[in-house]
Every structure is written in structure tokens, then in C-alpha cells.
Amino acid sequence: MTEHDRSGNSVSSPAPGEAAQRRLPSWNLRRMVGLSVVLHVVGLITATVLAKPNFDPPERLDVIPIQILSELAPPKIPERKPTPAPPKPKPKPEEVIPDPLEKIEPKPDPPKPKPEPKPPEPDPPKPKPEPEEKPPVKPPDVKPKETPPEPQTDVKVGAVDAPDLPPIETDRPTLGEDIQIELEGPPFEFAYYIRQMRRKISSKWRPPGADPTGPKISALVRFRVQPDGRVADAEIIESSNSFVFDQAVLRAMEEASPLPPLPKKYVHPQLGVRLRFVLQD
């Protein structure tokens, strides 16, 4: 603005040629500014246009977990940046830390020609750590608090939850096993628990060879999960009519125990599970 005024004032008195000369720079400036604005706008537009298709899907992907996470965990994005920085100061402190306590030779070790980062140095703190390290606050169980855990009154229609995540599928042999899940009644809200329980049992499940021409075969097993994850009272409540198959089911259950400890927020003292093992062609 001020420049404008200045050049405007000067126009009246001096010769036109001079004025033109003086004006020249400001014209250039204007042009350059204009050009720059145009370029920025164009750049922005192209950037958004180009970027959209690429980033859209991943963004959606991340949105769900990230949003939720940010709710319960402290501000994470700001944190992320600063943290990586500090590692700088100590680029390579690992190499030789001769242990005062150990006059032993392992330390001066010119550790073999291996490039590995494993320095055989006896570490400073003697072997003390084991006993002292008891991580103190383990599971502060808040369980009994709100409910008089009433033993199984099978009053209502219960729930099966199907918070089933597909990934289990991906690399399993394609021999005809199937996932079947029930959705019914109020949900068991700990999706992760079902997923991890299923994972563990699946990893122990070695069904006897399937008859490719045979019909679908399945058995229903019932068991209880104790708070610490141990499986109790596993029993076949619907036989596959194949002794071998039923035994394989029970064996899988036995090997899968202990399952993960029950979620802390699950107040009932144990969880009953009915589980169908299916082999299908």
C-alpha cells in the first residue's frame, strides 16, 4: 500500500519517463505476486485432486482406530514428532562398556569380525535384577465390586457375539473348514477376547483327515473359562458321531488351555463357551 502511494505521488511532478521507470519495479512486483498466487492456487488444486484418490482409502482405514485411540490415550500425534529426536545424542554408546565388577576378559573382547550389535560385555548391574524386579501393580481386579456374581441363572436368552475378524482366514489351508458364528441376544462386548480365544484354539486344532467326498462333520463342545484363562469342564455336548473327530476336538481344547485371562471388566467369575468345530468339504 505504502509503495503504491509513494509511486502515485511521484507521478504528478517528475517526467513521465521517470515515472514509468519508477513504476516498473512495482509492476513487476504486482505481476510476480499475482503469478505466485495463481501458481499456488493451481498447485493446491492439483495437489488436492491428485492426492484424493490415493490417500482416500488409507485414510478411511486409519480413521477408525485412530479416532478411538485418541480418545483414550493422551494426545498422540503431537507426541510422536518430538520423541524420535532424542536418540541423537547417543549414537553408539553400546560398544565397549567394560564392567568394573568383572575383571573377566569377555569385555575387552574384540567381538569377532561379526558386525552384530551384541557386545559381550558384562553389564554393570550384577546379576541382581531378578528378584527385585517384581512389577508391582499387576491386575487390580475390580471384579466383585458391582455384582454379587450370581451363579448361572440361565434365565434369559444369552448372547453370542460375533465380533469376528476375518484375518484368521487368510492363510489357513483351504481344506473345508468353515467359520460359523452366531449372533444372538446381548453381546459379549470384548471382541478382542473372542478373537484371541479363537486364534489360540485354532492354532491347536488339528482335525483328522477329511473325507473329500464326505459330508460336513462338526462337533459342539462346551467349556468354562476361568478368570486366569484356564479351560475347565470341556465336554462334547453334540457329538460328530466320529470318535476320532471328537477326540481331536477335546485335545485341541486341552492344548489351548490356558486361554487369555478373562477381561478384567467381565464381572462374572467364569465364562461359559459353546464352540462348534466344523470340517466341511
Partner: protein
């Protein structure tokens, strides 16, 4: 009764999620199962699994389905039973290790220049249960779970407040505190990792374990300790003699060993962290190859020769209450290893003229031969999971690692053409094995997965490192 059906549906739903097209395509068009599954996935992703409940029209009645009503806790409304079905296969749980937050505490690196997050990620990766992601700005598949911690300084003490979160819902699966120290102590991170393993798998992790072994860097053979990940190597004994065959007590408090410190091969024990070496058995002749009962009786089995021939004996941890278990006057019995329950013992004998592995009840009865490899088998170690015995067998002139079921079946070879292997010892998880292998002129410790994959070197010190014994969890 609602039933979601089919693996293809699952795969399809996965694809849907992956491409972010939650709402598009086929929910209703195809089988109801497909639609319902996608709906289920969507709801899960939104953290609103609960709504998934009933869509009566979509119900498929099957005679073979789950029958009957499932009980609900009348007070909380939480179900006391659930139903689901199972398939075969194993996939790793994806875990994202987020950068920690430092709340009033300065971020410090560990002794070897590693960040705490790095150590935690390594621990989780090692467990073999997880595919571990780091928060590094790259976008990958969203992890199912997130491991996160806040480091706080409280009354001058630095504490790690660790959390394991379910990504989809943000629910806290568990949270706990670990004294971190300043500079940070790896042990806190190991403990955190082991808790993550526990809460997601029901298994005890092995990050809080150490490995005892024999090293000769001083010119004498002494017992050393090293963390399972190669950190914190330290010497335990300073007897200036030959001290070998370290063996952990069930709770990890003591290490028994054979030492020639007083001229005779005697049994001794050391309380970890205490320099004192206490004699267990100094009977005339050989007192060797100690092994503690993992079931907690505190008893030790060892090979003694004070009655003339080397036989297996059971004794208490002070060397008293001696019971002889084997009676083979013309052969040597040694290298005993207990089953996890303490009910059975595998051991080595050359009673047929060949060194082979045998098994017997804990009282010495019911002896059977387990191995029939041509030539030579020794160094058995019974998996803490009970399902497998690892041993060394000589095949084609080289000593290789093998595993077999406790009845001698299901023989698997873990190494071949990689040199000579010695003294395998199981980790408490039954998924990893440490052993010694000659590396050039020296012997070094290595770790392998139980199927022989993922071999990696653990020690790099001067001289030999051999005769490893993997501790039980030390928390």
C-alpha cells in the same frame, strides 16, 4: 438363531475393509450370511459390536446349530456364556507399538543405545505371536491391538505405565505399572512385553528370562548369565576351576552346577545374585549333570558314581534323602531331564553299546528306549510344555538338533549341515531353544524356534560359550 457362514464371506469382508468400501456392494444381494458378516465387521470396526445382535429375519435355523438360550448375568446383563465356531490355522496378532509419552520424565535410551520402544517391539516380535508394527509414519494395515506406555516421574522414581488397547474399540485390555528407573531398565520393558503376551495368548512370555551358560574367557570355566536377548552378560562364578552344567531351579532362584573347584566333580548351587557357592553333593567320584524337578519338589536328579558305576540318583537340594533310580552296572546313566509334571524322566544311557535316550517314571520304574538314531543321541531336554523333547543326534558324522514327542514319535530334525550342535535347552514358552554351536574355533550360543527356523546368534564373547540352560520366567 443367527448364523454367519463361510470362509469366502470372511475373506470378502476383509477385502471390503481393506479397501475402505464398507457400505458398498453385496450385503443384501447374496446370501444373508455375507451381508451379515460385513455388517458385523463394520460394527466391530465402529466399536459398536453390541448392535450386531439380532436380525431375526436373517436367521438360519439349522438343526446342528447351537441350541437353547444362553444365560445372562441378571445384574450386569453380561452374558455368562457365549457361542462361536472354530476353524484351523494360526495367524499372528498384529500389534502396533506406539511411541511412549514422557510425562515429566526425560526420554532416555537404554545401555546399548536402544529406545525403550525398540526393546519392547523386539520382545514382542521374539515371542512369535505377533506381527509388530512401529509407529513410523508409514501406513499399513491397521493393527488389531496397540501397545502404549506413558513414562512418568513420581517422587523421583520413573515409572512405566503400560497399556494394551484394542484398536477397534479403544478398550483397555490391560494396564499395569513397571518401575523403569533412570537410565531405563530393560527388565521393566521385558515385564511389560510378557504381560502383553499373557493377555493376548494366555501364555507366559520369555522376555523376562535369562540364560546360564559356561564360558572360558578367563581361562577357567565359569558360569555366566545373559538376558534372553543377549544383553546384560555377567559372570556368576569365580572359582578359577572347571564349573559346568548349570541348571535352574523351578522358580529360577538357584543355579546348580558341577564344579571341580575342590578337585573332585562335585554338585554345588548358587543363589542368583549371591556370590556364595554351596555344595550339594561331594560324594566320592562323579557328582554331575544336575537337573531340578520343575514341578517344585525342590529335588535334584544327578549322575553319581560313589557306588562304583555312574547311575542316576534323586536327592533334595542339599544333597540329602538320596534315592537311586537306575541299576545298570555295565553302563553309564546320565543327563536326566524331567517332564514338566515331574512324573517322568528322560535320560541318556549306553546300555546297548550305543548312547541313546531312554525314559522312565520318576521313581525309576518302567524304563523304555526312546531314540533309535544310528550311532549316538544325547543331551535331552524336555519342553516345559511337555509335548516335545529336544536332543542332539549324530547323523552323517555331524551333531544335529532333533525334537521328538515324549513317546519317541514325531522325530524332526532342526539342523543339518550347519556344524556341530550341543546342549539344547528349551525356553519356558516351549517355542524356542538355545544351544551351543561351534563358530570357527569357538563355541557360541544360538537360539532357534522350535521348528528349526529363525536361528540367530546370542553371544559373541571371546572364548567358548556353551552348555546353556534357559531360565524359567524370572518375574
Amino acid at each position: 438363531m443367527t448364523k454367519v457362514n463361510s470362509g469366502t464371506a470372511a475373506r470378502w469382508a476383509l477385502a471390503q475393509i481393506r479397501f475402505g468400501r464398507f457400505f458398498r456392494g453385496g450385503g443384501r444381494g447374496g446370501s444373508w450370511g455375507l451381508g451379515s458378516f460385513v455388517l458385523g465387521s463394520l460394527l466391530l470396526a465402529l466399536g459398536a459390536v453390541g448392535i450386531a445382535a439380532a436380525q431375526p429375519d436373517d436367521v438360519e435355523e439349522t438343526g446342528s446349530g447351537f441350541e437353547g438360550a444362553l444365560p445372562v448375568d441378571p445384574v450386569t446383563g453380561q452374558p455368562t456364556e457365549i457361542d462361536f465356531e472354530i476353524t484351523k490355522g494360526f495367524t499372528k496378532t498384529s500389534v502396533l507399538v506406539r511411541e511412549f509419552d514422557y510425562d515429566g520424565a526425560q526420554r532416555r535410551l537404554l545401555a546399548r543405545g536402544e529406545s525403550p520402544e525398540q526393546v519392547l517391539a523386539q520382545d514382542l516380535e521374539f515371542s512369535d505371536f505377533f506381527s509388530v508394527q512401529r509407529e513410523d509414519g508409514r501406513r499399513g494395515t491397521p493393527a488389531e491391538t496397540v501397545v502404549y506406555a506413558r513414562v512418568v516421574s513420581r517422587f523421583g522414581k520413573v515409572v512405566l505405565q503400560g497399556q494394551l488397547l484394542e484398536s477397534a474399540t479403544g478398550d483397555v485390555i490391560f494396564e499395569s505399572e513397571y518401575p523403569l528407573g533412570d537410565p531405563p531398565d530393560r527388565w521393566a520393558l521385558h515385564a511389560f512385553s510378557d504381560d502383553v503376551v499373557l493377555y493376548l495368548t494366555g501364555e507366559a512370555g520369555v522376555a523376562s528370562t535369562r540364560i546360564a551358560f559356561v564360558g572360558n574367557a578367563t581361562g577357567s570355566k565359569e558360569v555366566y548369565l545373559v538376558d534372553y536377548d543377549g544383553a546384560r552378560l555377567s559372570r556368576v562364578t569365580s572359582l578359577g576351576s572347571i564349573t559346568i552344567s548349570p541348571a535352574w531351579s523351578a522358580e529360577g532362584k538357584y543355579i546348580a552346577c558341577t564344579t571341580f573347584a575342590s578337585g573332585n566333580p562335585d554338585l554345588a548351587k548358587i543363589e542368583v545374585g549371591d556370590p556364595e557357592v554351596v555344595a550339594i553333593s561331594t560324594r566320592q567320584g562323579i557328582n554331575s549333570a544336575p537337573e531340578w524337578d520343575p514341578a517344585g519338589s525342590g529335588d535334584i536328579i544327578a549322575a553319581l558314581s560313589y557306588e562304583g558305576n555312574t547311575e542316576l540318583y534323586r536327592m533334595n537340594s542339599n544333597g540329602g534323602d538320596l534315592h537311586r533310580l537306575t541299576f545298570e552296572p555295565n553302563s553309564i546313566e546320565t543327563s536326566a531331564t524331567f517332564s514338566p509334571s515331574g512324573g517322568q524322566i528322560a535320560f541318556v544311557s549306553d546300555r546297548t553299546g550305543q548312547t541313546q535316550i531312554y525314559i522312565m517314571d520318576a521313581d525309576g520304574a518302567n524304563v523304555r528306549r526312546l531314540t533309535y538314531l544310528n550311532g549316538y543321541c544325547d543331551s535331552p531336554d524336555w519342553s516345559p510344555k511337555g509335548d516335545s523333547i529336544v536332543f542332539v543326534g549324530r547323523v552323517d558324522g555331524a551333531f544335529d538338533l532333533f525334537t521328538m514327542a515324549a513317546d519317541g514319535t514325531n522325530l524332526r530334525r532342526l539342523s543339518s549341515g550347519e556344524g556341530n550342535h550341543e546342549n539344547p535347552s528349551w525356553a519356558a514358552d516351549g517355542r524356542h531353544i538355545v544351544y551351543a554351536k561351534r563358530d570357527g574355533n569357538d563355541r557360541r550360543l544360538f537360539i532357534t524356534a522350535a521348528d528349526g527356523s529363525g536361528k540367530r546368534q546370542l553371544t559373541w564373547s571371546r572364548g567358548d560359550q556353551y552348555n546353556p540352560a534357559w531360565s524359567p520366567p524370572l518375574r
